[in-house]
Amino acid sequence: MSTEKKHNTEEVRLMKGNEAIAHAAIRCGCDGYFGYPITPQSEIMETLMDLEPWNTTGMVVLQAESETASINMVYGAAGCGKKAMTSSSSPGVSLMQEGISYMVGAELPCVIVNVMRGGPGLGTIQPSQADYFQTVKGGGHGDYKLITLAPASVQEMADFMVKSFDLAFKYRTPVMILADGIIGQMMEKVVLPPFTPRWTEEEIREQTPWATLGKTPDRKPNVINSLRLEAADMEKLNLVLQSRYREIEQKEVLFEEFECADADYIIVAFGITARICQKTVELARQKGIKAGLIRPITLYPFPTAQIKEYADKVKGMISVEMSAGQMIEDVRLAVNGKVPVEFYGRMGGIVPSPEEVLEALENKLIG
């Protein structure tokens, strides 16, 4: 079967967010997926296994023995200049933190999808956003940041797959797609990205001259490594990383606004919670409350400047999250005390309804 026939383009389809990730990965020229089953994201690997991309694009799909092995397989593949990815849900992503830190230290690009569920511990399989801190504040050891994209629709699951690989290779860094159980499990319309061939070995040599493809006589050995025993060398690498983060903060911020222009009150929410809060804004406006919504699309880099700008124009903000309050710290840093920033959240897999968010907005901000 020809690749084009199996993955024909431009068609509007109905699929789950998890399925969209799998389709988009194949289409954007991903070389390897390595993963371990965990609810609520197992459809990603199941879809890949069903589509058998090794017969079409040549993409490798492998079920590993653990999340630890998965992320280290991604390390091995990325070290060869390949587009490699893994996916998991919260407990599994905790297990990957070692590997993520090593990949940052070795300056390796990859994409990690976290379809979050409630924690701590084994937790629940119901949706959550409580891995915000883990994702944008570190997670593994050492000074590092992960570019983090938070999709709010099935379409964005597909689109961000493509974008994540672009960013990962542009900045030689792991990129996280931070979704949740709802976006993974729900079905919506989606137009899949066009088919892009995988890089040939010549293209890999050109794009990633650091890749370990075998030492040729014209160059020194390539070594993929995060070990720098000399403190001065280690600081040098850190300085490189930090200057890269400053560039990312300058160039890669993404966010969306909804009804903010005349807003008295702004809700800040990401992912599926932003969709719920969009409905809250609709309900609020029906009641004559001028509410607006800012949805950070990149959680790192955070839209600090954009939120700061609104701090001068509104009476208050409320951060709404499926957590005990994590992103609110970044919102408060951006607002810097200019207006009250309140919080409303549900935890442990409970999803807030648009109505209860409205009630929180009225009680906490309007009084």
Binding site: L14, T39, G181, I182, Q185, M186, R275, S353
Partner: protein, 181 residues
């Protein structure tokens, strides 16, 4: 047009797939659609439900707390969702095994004994299509031809010979549904 629907029942009653067929039908007539399942242990024998939204405009929240239409196929689902139907909305229930019945008078309540019919006529595989037929009789939100198009799209080709059977089930459901108040 915007229709916010919850379909709830036991796992295995075809609740999730009925929702999917509805979503596919909406897709076929060019609408915005979302299908949100309850997932997890509930799929394995407990209660399951699917929230389906069909809309002419972009859908904001796929997570809802109140519905235009609720289809409930077991007692716990009735107890959970009867109160969530918007005033003037629609409640459809299959009375099989019920010992308490809907009490609200500010909504339209319909009964469809699809389970009983399906057992009597050896048609358990199309039970959810019978119920879908009932829904479309009282809330014609999608055209039957689009349901069939959606089915064709979502079913693997090896199952396409079942399309006729499903179409018949829709019409049976349309005859079976009865208004209670």
């Amino acid at each position: 047009m915007k229709e916010e629907i919850i379909i709830a029942g036991f796992g295995g009653q075809g609740v999730l797939s009925m929702g999917k067929i509805l979503a596919y039908s909406g897709l076929m007539q060019g609408q915005e659609v979302s299908w949100l399942p309850s997932y997890g242990p509930e799929q394995r024998g407990g209660t399951a439900n699917a929230t389906v939204i069909l809309s002419d405009e972009r859908i904001s929240s796929p997570v809802l707390n109140s519905f235009d239409t609720a289809i409930v196929l077991n007692q716990p689902s009735l107890e959970r969702f009867e109160c969530k139907v918007k005033p003037g909305g629609t409640l459809i229930f299959d009375g099989n095994g019920f010992h308490k019945f809907p009490t609200r008078t500010d909504i339209n309540v319909y009964r469809i004994d699809a389970t009983e019919y399906a057992y009597a006529n050896n048609a358990s595989k199309t039970m959810n299509m019978i119920i879908l037929g009932g829904l479309l009789k009282v809330r014609p939100i999608v055209k039957v031809e689009n349901v069939l198009k959606g089915l064709k799209k979502s079913l693997p080709e090896r199952h396409h010979h079942l399309l006729d059977m499903n179409e018949k089930a829709i019409h049976i459901g349309m005859d079976l549904i009865r208004k209670i108040n």
